[in-house]
């Protein structure tokens, strides 16, 4: 049986042959199917970039907005219709660079959405400039002397913000990627999965092999519930740990805090306007 989230007809995918994004797509398609989600209830939200093209290649509804601006609409979509499964996807430039402020503050609201970030340590779509995650020393046509900025550590950052599901995977391992994706989607609250992804065209340093050589799996007895321990773990680099690094369930979600759902959990679009209430309010101003 086919995957309902895939297209029946062949589609033209704009990624380079060999790009890690294909594996991420595969994992995502499988995750969506295995979770038995209804196609009509899934919305993908993205910004702009190679990663952000993902929604174009999944057979569901999507909101493919502006570069860096995936999280605000994703938050609002979930808030207006909590029945939807809302997944935001973006590149490391998209989500941690241009969109950094939304990342910071979306985590504070804690909407029940999932964020997949393709960490290829480069700007793919604009042809090879440094991303916030680019490793120190990487030369590009803009960073002609090599990147000197400290690479952003999204895992440490997310833990500092108390994001209650923080994971990192490598798309070279489709099984783990899928598995963690599923857990992230099921997690109540904002979930971040940072996905190592080789950009075969513009990142000649952080290749498939490099990621393979510079990662390891968290051991079975690792305890992701200890925030300080998770922070310490998040500082490990080269090799980077893979798996669920921090997880907790102590926070309420944005939707749980919205007054409109206190007594009625129907999505906004289903509700009727009560003109009597308006009239009462107007008359109260006499």
């Amino acid at each position: 049986m086919g995957n309902i989230f895939d297209f029946e007809e062949k589609i033209d995918i704009a990624w380079c042959p060999g790009c890690g994004d294909y594996s991420i797509r595969k994992a995502l398609l499988e995750a969506l199917q295995e979770l038995n989600l209804k196609k009509e209830k899934v919305v993908l939200v993205s910004g702009i970039g190679q990663a952000a093209k993902m929604p174009q290649y999944i057979n569901t509804s999507f909101f493919n907005g502006l570069h860096g601006r995936g999280l605000p609409p994703a938050t609002a979509i979930k808030a207006c219709n909590p029945e939807l499964t809302v997944i935001a996807v973006g590149g490391d430039g998209d989500m941690y660079g241009e969109g950094g402020n939304h990342f910071l503050h979306a985590t504070r609201r804690n909407p029940d959405i999932t964020l997949f970030v393709h960490e290829n340590m480069v700007y793919g779509l604009t042809k090879g400039q440094a991303a916030p995650t680019s490793r120190t020393g990487m030369k590009t046509p803009v960073q002609v002397f090599g990147v000197f900025e400290k690479p952003l550590n999204p895992i440490a950052l997310a833990i500092s913000l108390d994001v209650t599901f923080v994971a990192r995977v490598f798309c070279g391992d489709i099984e783990q990627t899928k598995d963690v994706m599923k857990k992230a989607i099921l997690h109540k609250g904002f979930a971040l999965v940072d996905i190592f992804q080789p950009c075969v065209t513009f990142n000649k340093i952080n290749t498939f092999k490099w990621f393979k050589d510079n990662t390891y799996y968290l051991s079975g007895d690792y305890d992701p519930s200890d925030r300080t321990g998770a922070f310490k773990k998040s500082l490990e680099e080269e090799p980077f740990p893979l798996g669920i690094i921090y997880k907790s369930d102590h926070r309420t979600t944005f939707e749980e805090n919205i007054s409109v759902y206190k007594n009625d959990n129907s999505p906004l679009y289903k509700r009727e306007f009560d003109i009597k209430k308006l009239e009462a309010e107007i008359n109260a101003k006499v």
């Binding site: 704009a14 509804s61 907005g65 605000p72 609002a76 979509i77 808030a79 219709n81 906004l268 679009y269």
Partner: protein
């Protein structure tokens, strides 16, 4: 010699931020309107929380006169600097009318101190005005009791005593005779601020998602709408920045909500890219833009009509939009209500331009009728073949939302095909660009024409837009000429096409704008080729006064 004040009394309260002038305004507005006086008030505030020098004008009149006057009949200075501060303001218009000999010495603070605390001086002042206006003592008492009901008993009693002390002092004043007619209709009027009118209009438009980032003078609408959250099933959210605000609101419309954002110049500038996204994905969106003087931070708590050009052109690339700018409270309510329907119908952003003068001014106005209010929703249930951007005759594609029906609802900031997927096909590009613009033709049919007041056989036509309506109107009425008419625009863009006929009919066209570059005149010229050279412009952060507009018009006729 006693001063006689008939039919129209202008009281100005001046003092520092934190001295409680707003409390006097609150008390007197309800009380005076409640007893049947036409009431108007407007404030000019500094951008600080304490200190400085602010003033509030209260206007009490026999007939509806909700416009700002320079004239001050009664100045109540709560601070030493008040007279110096207002001397300057008055010098703009009617300096000669200030009667320095007429100073009456009322020791507000002295009286308040007798009650143990100088903070009551504002209440004493409020009482004084009630005394002068000979408000019924029982009515006053009842009101105060209700007004301070939530406060503790001691505070309530002190305030009551303070107001009464003021009241008796006012009654005892023989130097001033005031006679203003009350009327029964006023009692059943609404008493509202501009921010209230916009907020009620939004509610009446079915608004159920509001987001914003605090910024004077738009914050009052954000606060009002937040206070409505529970009552009207509204999600109200303060967002991290204005970019988040606009993108959130687009997400909300996408998911089936009716969303409004509220902001001011700098915040709106930050939304420019998001506005362009709105154009591309053909989303509805309501933007309340409360203007203040720029550029940059400018004069953050003051007034100007300086963001029209930005409203017209914000966002890269070409896409249609609608711009409205209410002149009265009633218009603020109706236009905001309608904005939601228009935006939903045409899938274009609708901008509502107000300004600090508009949102902060308060007056009584007949109760808004609601029988013609309809929430027009244009959402369709989708099926498997649904295409969000289907090419149609009039450019409007039925708008589905995710989760309602079986179709995919795909929107994309890139140029896209009918299904909402990226395309670089140059023919499809043209089809989509044309489709977006085609909607403009239908929109034009929905334009509410400008309001023409004054003479039908005018030779002089005074053009104005947005918040200046009441001021300009009263000024022209005041001139009492049979040759002058006022044409006021609250539907700004697309501009009514037959405006040229009105312009050509006049031998003398004057424009009044609260900005330095006559932005609306530019729009008129750009649309019609007609150049209005007689410009009455003001850009010092203050609203026009009626007298000032009269004087300036006279120079041109």
């Amino acid at each position: 010699m006693a001063n006689n004040i008939t039919d129209d009394l202008v009281i100005v309260l001046a003092g520092q931020a934190g001295q409680g002038i707003q409390v006097i305004e609150n008390i007197l507005s309800s009380l005076l309107k409640g007893t049947g006086y036409n009431f108007f008030s407007t404030s000019e505030l500094m951008s600080r929380v304490r200190g400085g020098l602010n003033s509030t004008e209260l206007r009490v009149s026999s007939k509806r006169s909700p416009g700002f006057l320079d004239r001050i009949d009664l100045l109540i200075p709560l601070h030493n600097d008040a007279i110096a501060h207002l001397k300057k303001r008055i010098s703009l218009g009617e300096k000669d009318k200030v009667n320095y000999e007429g100073i009456i010495d009322i020791q507000f603070t002295g009286i308040a101190n007798e009650l143990g605390n100088a903070v009551f001086s504002n209440t004493v002042a409020a009482g004084l005005i009630c005394g002068l206006l000979k408000i019924d003592e029982r009515e006053l008492e009842n009101f105060i009791f209700k007004y301070f009901a939530v406060k503790n008993e001691d505070i309530r009693n002190k305030n009551l005593q303070a107001i009464k002390k003021g009241y008796f002092a006012g009654q005892a004043l023989t130097e001033i005779n005031i006679s203003i007619n009350k009327s029964i209709e006023v009692k059943t009027d609404l008493l509202l601020s501009g921010a209230d009118a916009i907020s009620l209009g939004a509610v009446a438009g079915g608004c159920n998602y509001v987001c914003g980032y605090p910024m004077s003078p738009s914050t009052s609408v954000l606060e009002k709408m937040s206070s409505y959250a529970e009552k009207f099933d509204i999600i109200a959210e303060q967002v991290e920045d204005e970019i988040g605000v606009v993108n959130m609101a687009l997400g909300a419309w996408y998911a089936g909500a009716r969303a409004m954002v509220t902001t001011s110049g700098g915040g709106f500038a930050l939304m420019s890219e998001g506005l362009s996204l709105c154009g591309m994905i053909e989303s509805p969106l309501i933007i309340h833009l409360a203007q203040r003087p720029g550029p940059a931070t400018g004069l953050p708590t003051r007034t100007e009509q300086g963001d029209l050009n930005l409203a017209l052109y914000a966002g890269h690339g070409d896409f249609p939009r609608i711009i409205l700018a209410p002149g009265t409270l009633e218009e603020g309510f109706r236009l905001t209500q309608r904005a939601f329907n228009l935006s939903d119908k045409y899938q274009v952003p609708v901008l509502i331009l107000t300004d600090q003068y508009y949102v902060d001014s308060i007056y009584n106005t007949p109760v808004f009728k609601t029988d013609d209010i309809r929430i027009e929703k244009y959402i369709v249930e989708t099926d498997k073949n649904y295409k969000r951007f289907s090419l149609t005759e009039n450019g409007i594609s039925p708008r589905g939302i995710p989760g309602f029906g079986n179709g995919n609802v795909c929107v994309d900031s890139d140029e896209h095909d009918e299904s909402g997927h990226i395309t670089e096909d140059s023919d499809m590009r043209i089809k989509m660009a044309d489709k977006r613009f085609k909607k403009f033709e239908s929109i034009k049919k929905d334009i509410s024409p400008a309001t023409l007041t004054g003479s039908d056989n005018y030779t002089t036509l005074v053009i104005c837009w947005g918040s200046t309506f009441n001021i300009v109107n009263e000024a022209v009425e005041g001139l009492g000429s049979k040759d002058i008419a006022v044409m006021h625009f609250s539907w700004i863009f697309p501009l009514q096409e037959n405006i040229i006929e009105y312009l050509n009919k006049a031998s003398n066209v004057i424009i009044v704008e609260n900005n330095s570059s006559a932005q609306f005149a530019m729009l008129i010229k750009q649309t019609t080729g007609y150049s209005i050279d007689k410009k009455i412009l003001k850009y010092n952060g203050l609203p026009f006064s009626v007298e000032e507009v009269m004087k300036e018009i006279q120079k041109f006729i």
